[in-house]
Amino acid sequence: MEDAMILNKSSVERGMFHGQIYQTETIDLSEQSRKSDRGRSSFRRTVTDKSTHSHIDADGLPYVGQMICPGDAYCSIYNEVTNMTRNMVKKGTEPVYVDYVAVDVKNKKNLQKVNIRFRHPRNPVIGDKFSSRHGQKGVCSQLWPDVDMPFSGTTGMRPDLVINPHAFPSRMTIAMLIESIAAKVGSLNGEFIDATPFASSVADPNGDSTCESELLVDQIGSRLKKHGFNYHGVEVLYSGFYGTELPCAIFIGPVYYQRLRHMVSDKFQARYFIISLLFAYIHQVLCPVNQGLSILNVFQVRSTGTVDQVTRQPIKGRKKGGGIRFGEMERDSMLAHGAAYLLHDRLHTCSDYHVADVCSLCGSILTTTFIQPQQRLVREISGLPPPRAAKKVMCQSCQTNEGMETVAMPYVFRYLAAELAAMNIKMTLHLGHGAGA
């Protein structure tokens, strides 16, 4: 993908870009009891339920250094009035460690307020974002084994990180190239290189330059050459797979890289979507259902979960467990691939699939009403299970149930009819049999 990068797996294993995120939770019992007004509570673990004792210490607080998986209890609160113990359960998707527990001792009598600091281990995984200092950010797409990385024949060095050269022409971040080549000279000489703009970084302070060219790159290049490296900072590399020389020389050098805060483990949503999509596709091929009307303003897509009240389409937003929008352009690409069943599944079956009753006489979908079956009570008294009677539906405007048909359609279509009706526009459907009717 665009701006992907490859990290050296061994470098990562040796500690490159390792990190942790701290997250502090404050539990204030006095605040909680004031709100609910249900009496005094304190930190204490239960004696009856020993299952939580591996997580919670005798004081009702977690052990420092303890690993807590999602769904585990990490602190328990005892309510003195109801005589109940309530466990605080860790939410999230990844295990965390208890880093520190701080107690507020202002209240001398009993403990009311604690701070629990959690530590999320965040070592680099595929999908994490990294950047140089020139805005050349990218996403790690592979953790590549060290032996498979290309290596330099003279020094034996393998790269820590590989980026795509296409990141440069349009963005024109020349500074990154200069950083790389200057850092190479700097590390060969064991000295810093001044990066002040509009000033020569390698020339003598007296002003007399050792090189005839005033260009910084030329000055660096000639110094690189003195150390037996290529003038332009490129090196001949050998394939890690075959051990043969790569057909072109590679620009290689040290660049300062940093980790960015966008990490995949915070963006769990997308993966779930792909799995559900494939599953739905298989499902769809095996049991194709009747084709209905297809309306194209489908919004978010997801198999199960909360839906919007009005449109019955899945809601958006990761916090609420919503889906991911399958938009117009995605629709177009599906069409281009000829994946009509998949498209139908995404936009209809997995979204707001709805079977509506339509009156074929007047063509309305809004005037249909259910007729309450009358015999139901009698059956229930006699103790027999109620038979699954066919739904009786009739058209309110035609006052008959003769022309009732069921049509599969997106629920928003019904909503559209209702909205149009509110504007005094009547929408009628003409039903026919067979394809192309």
């Binding site: 500690g15 250094g65 060290d146 032996v147 003279t154 037996g228 490296f229 003038y231 050998y238 890690g240």
Partner: protein, 318 residues
């Protein structure tokens, strides 16, 4: 073709050998073999490294995982590793890594009692096996050995304490970089440089000088007496094509011709110190042989024998 054998007998000539460094020539084989050797040296030669850490007390500034990671990266002397078992296929202990055949136990107890910062180093790790100890770099680094106290794990201030038990196991670099015995393994093709003397004589001395200086590494030089361009160190050539470009820029293409000898390699091996570099090469060859044996004995190869006929027999060393 009847009875023709494609088998070659590679030769090794050692040029330079130190404890943690070896340079040798590998002759009469091809890139696949050279690269296989490199790859085995990097990730398949077993070593011993700390794999399991049980932390009893840790009041230092670094958290438990951090210390465990640092412990894992400490090089341990691994001469024993080739004869040890992987803990996953150890019969004596059901693979839980608690027996002498597959694991080594370490203890570390450190507490700072003074106002001065206490460095907890690899020297503080007490091993249960005197053959597996943290690598001592003090003599090779050239520092005063009284000052050099091993690899720093963590620093403690007054009152801080670190107490832990660690289990070291045999492993290979493929599983985790901490088990890699090689710091650097690299090889290059031996270059063959031919100077076209007639064309070279047509150059002036200044042109010759320019030509010699066009190479970033010192491959060519000018003989002070005869003013002839001579090859002083052909192995310094890095295949950068600089001299060829220079020759072309001077309008004299074909001034020098440089070929890579396809079947001669110059290896440079640097060990991390866990085993001697020479031993690393020997172990790598041993493992490569074992891997080839596995191929030879597998059923697939027997089947393939029918398919390839003569070539199949050759593959099995016939």
């Amino acid at each position: 073709m009847d009875g023709a054998s494609y088998q070659r007998f590679p030769k090794i000539r050692i040029r330079e050998m130190k404890d943690d460094y070896v340079k040798f020539e590998l002759r009469d084989t091809d890139a696949s073999m050279a690269n296989a050797l490199r790859r085995v040296m990097l990730v398949e030669v077993p070593t011993i490294a700390i794999d399991l850490v049980e932390i009893e007390v840790n009041s230092s500034v670094l958290n438990d995982e951090f210390i465990a990671h640092r412990l894992g990266l400490i090089p341990l002397t691994s001469e024993r590793a080739m004869n040890m078992r992987f803990s996953r296929d150890c019969d004596a202990c059901d693979g839980d890594g608690q027996c002498e055949f597959c694991s080594v136990e370490f203890h570390l107890r450190a507490k700072c009692m003074t106002d001065q910062t206490l460095d907890v180093t690899s020297k503080d790790l007490i091993s249960s096996d005197h053959t597996v100890i943290p690598v001592d770099f003090s003599d090779s680094a050239g520092f005063d050995s009284s000052e050099q106290r091993g690899i720093i794990i963590v620093k403690l201030r007054r009152g801080q304490e670190l107490r832990l038990r660690a289990i070291a196991r045999k492993g290979i670099g493929k599983d985790h970089a901490k088990w890699s015995p090689a710091a650097t393994v690299t090889f290059m093709y031996e270059p063959e440089i031919h100077i076209n003397e007639d064309l070279m004589e047509s150059l002036t001395l200044d042109e010759k000088r320019g030509f010699v200086e066009s190479s970033p590494t010192k491959v060519f030089d000018i003989d002070p007496n005869t003013h002839q361009v001579v090859v002083v160190d052909r192995e310094a050539y890095t295949y950068d094509d600089e001299v060829l470009k220079k020759a072309e820029a001077m309008g004299k293409p074909g001034l020098v011709e440089i070929y890579a000898k396809e079947d001669n390699f110059i290896f440079t091996v640097e060990s991390t110190g866990v085993i001697k570099a020479s031993q690393l090469v020997l172990n790598a060859i041993e493992i490569l042989k074992q891997k080839l044996d596995a191929v030879r004995l597998s059923e697939d190869t027997v089947e393939a024998d029918d398919q390839f006929g003569e070539l199949g027999a050759h593959m099995r060393g016939g």
